[in-house]
């Protein structure tokens, strides 16, 4: 079996589904071995400790079984020896769009990135396959001492901060895919916000997969020093290929005392992408980490953003929207580890299942016995459109002791034929009616988004519904 089966669906992802031919200067070839890892190290000029880190991670990856004992067996369809692990046109991202190679620039222009940068962002990094093609931060933000570069540049130019936190929030051994990422990571962002600096406009990264049979393994590390504040947004697309594509990122956030990090994802992967991402934040005293995670598209997404609430009064929040259309499985959720008194966490997860699409919520809330004054609120709601979609909820809440409080609510609702008929009788097409229902379902969450992203999300929902009506 060299070919992986791709579900037979064809959703119009008109925005992301295009592909320009391009040539790569650096190509690690097909398959994964210690030679692949060495090739990546050589191309990137990695220091010895990173080379060692990668090689060790590769061994851990190889030794860990696929987590099919609890997760979907579809994971078995990832054929690691058929994947290309590193593809780039050069390692140094350009600081102006003029310097970016024409075909790559065209891709990002079509995705609207330079325009968004001009309009409402503090800085942008645009990754094309393995490396960032463009990375820039507005002068006014850079002058405050904010660092916003790719992972390679972060590791080379700011080793004292990088080394201190890299791999500390998510150890290589965390899971099979964090180990894989640790072995072959490339791209992603390294961000440092100095004490007290509040970055007014969001920083944005855009991850674009352009090649077939390819794996994208970006690595992001964001550190907000004491009292600092930052919002980071990421967007993702890939063209729809016949073969499976792998996206396996690791994102680590560190919010020091009193700092605030908001991390927003709006992903729109095509239906051949396995999206297996590990995201976790470390919140020190009185710090706040908020994940806003919108998962639309992909063949299989497994992602459970988490917060380790390490300091007193730390706050963690996960707002998650997952939409599974026919042939897709969104296995998402959240993890909250309470490790100090008076820490609070909030999880609101909404999933939408359409046709045979399957959505799964997995939650993990851990409050040990010796703590007091901890609070967790978990809400998971599912909306089903068409009767054969499936939704599962696994809310593992481990709370010990009696000085903490936990609240959990879950609901499942359906868009009924009567609702659709009612809206159709008002002139909306079936797709418009379903889209309106979905928008209503996620409405209270979307209102928390920056405007540009709520508009984008609405557009993606419309598109998804348009494609799901026969």
């Amino acid at each position: 079996m060299s070919q992986t089966a791709t579900p037979d669906i064809d959703i119009d992802r008109s925005v992301g589904d295009f592909h320009y031919d391009t040539s790569y200067e650096f190509d690690a070839g097909v398959g994964l071995s210690s030679k692949t890892v060495d090739y990546i190290c050589d191309v990137k000029g990695d220091p010895q400790w990173i080379r060692d880190f990668r090689q060790k991670a590769l061994k851990i990856f190889e030794s860990k079984p696929m987590p099919t004992h609890w997760a979907t067996e579809d994971l078995e369809n990832i054929i690691f020896k058929n994947i290309r692990y590193y593809l780039s046109k050069g390692q140094v991202p350009k600081r102006t769009w003029e310097e970016v190679p024409e075909d790559v620039k065209r891709t990002f222009e079509r995705l609207g990135i330079p325009e968004a940068e001009r309009k409402f962002l503090s800085g942008v990094e645009a990754q094309f396959d393995s490396e960032a093609a463009y990375s820039n931060i507005k002068a006014i933000v850079a002058e405050q001492g904010v660092i916003f570069v790719g992972s390679t540049e972060g590791l080379h130019k700011h080793p004292e901060i990088f080394k201190k936190w890299f791999g500390k929030v998510i150890p290589t051994t965390d899971n099979k895919f964090s180990a894989l990422n640790s072995a072959v990571f490339s791209g992603g962002s390294f961000i440092y916000i100095p004490p007290g600096v509040k970055v007014k406009h969001p920083l944005q990264a855009y991850f674009r997969i352009n090649a077939q049979n390819f794996g994208q393994f970006e690595r992001t590390l964001i550190i907000a020093d004491e009292g600092a504040e930052v919002t980071y947004m990421e967007g993702c697309t890939a063209p729809k290929f016949e073969t499976a594509t792998l996206h396996s990122a690791v994102v680590e956030l560190v919010a020091l005392k009193g700092a605030k990090i908001q991390y927003i994802t709006v992903q729109n992967w095509s239906s051949n992408v396995f999206n297996l991402v590990t995201k976790r934040g470390l919140a020190m005293e009185d710090a706040e980490i908020k994940w806003i995670d919108c998962n639309i598209g992909s063949r299989l997404t497994m992602k459970y953003p988490g917060v380790i609430l390490k300091g007193r009064k730390a706050r963690g929040e996960v707002i998650s929207i997952a939409m599974a259309n026919s042939g897709q499985h969104q296995d998402t959720g959240a993890k909250m580890y309470h490790l100090a008194d008076d820490t609070t966490s909030n999880i609101v997860a909404k999933s939408i299942g359409i046709g045979s699409g399957r959505s799964t919520y997995r939650g993990m809330v851990h409050i040990p016995k010796h703590l007091k004054g901890c609070k967790n609120n978990t809400e998971c709601d599912a909306l089903l459109i068409n009767t054969n979609s499936r939704t599962d909820t696994y809310p593992a809440i481990q709370v010990r002791g009696n000085k903490n409080s936990v609240q959990h609510e879950a609901s499942v609702s359906k868009v009924s034929a009567d609702q659709i008929f009612y809206m159709q009788q008002r002139g909306m097409t079936e797709a418009q009616a379903m889209s309106l229902s979905v928008n209503g379902f996620v409405n209270d969450l979307v209102r928390q988004f920056p405007l540009e992203y709520s508009v984008e999300l609405k557009r993606l929902i419309d598109m998804e519904m348009e494609g799901s009506v026969g």
Binding site: A417, Q419, F421, Y422, Q425, R426, G427, M428, E430, N439
Partner: protein, 251 residues
């Protein structure tokens, strides 16, 4: 402008409900169809609107000469057919303003975006006319509404969408006298030469407020008797049984 129903036969599942119904909706007129329970009143309105549960086995419905039976429910709506529901659905999380906006947007040519300022001007003008408070538009469609609020919401939608033919399906059900009066006032303000109104009801009392030009009696899937507004009073006084006997004789 015309809506003509010819020899309409319709069933739900195995059950035949409409059995050769002939009827014509007339622009500028208020017509009432009355009938006992199970006579096919609600089936008629749902078949006109295109509800997927009903199968038309014979006959046609012509809107300006074009048979609409092949059209999707939303295409019929955009062509000018409006139905005020007896039991309108809740749409959680969707405000009345956004709902109406989506309905108005659906009527614009592809690629044309609704003018938000103009939309709200029109909406507020219609609400003023119907004596509705603006806060109403921020509520989620029918969620937690009283019976009266649901029906007023239907009337507001009718006002905004300006149909050519409006069918009020048992609009009086679940309304107390005050709500009935308010809803009827709304209909009376909206009716006019540009629109035909069909009031489908079991009871005569709604027709005290919305005075019909014609009254028709539906029984056993067919129109069996037609007359002026006084026919409604007669039905109220004598019930439906005497017509049953009459129509049996006629048949």
């Amino acid at each position: 402008m015309s809506l003509i129903i010819k020899d309409l036969h319709a069933s739900i599942g195995e059950r035949q409900i409409l059995k050769g119904l002939n009827f014509e909706m007339k622009p500028g007129k208020v017509q009432a169809i009355m009938g006992p329970n199970g006579s096919g009143k609600s089936t008629l309105s749902k078949v006109i609107a295109g509800h997927p549960d009903y199968t038309v086995t014979a006959g046609e419905i012509l809107l300006n000469g074009e048979n609409i039976l092949e059209m999707e429910p939303d295409a019929r709506a955009r062509a000018g057919i409006f139905m005020a529901f007896q039991y309108p659905s809740e749409i959680p999380g969707v405000t009345i303003a956004n709902f109406l906006r989506a309905a108005v947007q659906a009527r614009l040519p592809e690629g044309e975006l609704i003018d938000a300022v103009e939309f709200y001007e029109t909406l507020y003008a219609k609400m003023d006319m119907l004596e509705m408070k603006r806060e109403f538009t921020t509520r989620f469609v029918n969620e937690g509404f009283s019976g009266g609020e649901k029906k007023r919401n239907e009337i507001l939608q009718m006002a905004m969408l300006e149909p050519k033919f409006a069918i009020l399906d048992e609009t009086d059900s679940g309304l107390d006298i005050d709500a009935l009066r308010i809803v009827s006032q709304g209909v009376n303000k909206l009716k006019g030469p540009h629109m035909g109104v069909l009031v489908i009801t079991h009871y005569q009392r709604l027709l005290n407020y919305i005075v019909p030009d014609e009254v028709h009696v539906l029984m056993n899937g067919r129109i069996v008797q037609s007359g002026g507004k006084e026919l409604a009073l007669e039905l109220e006084a004598k019930g439906y049984d005497w017509i049953k006997e009459d129509s049996l004789v006629a048949a």
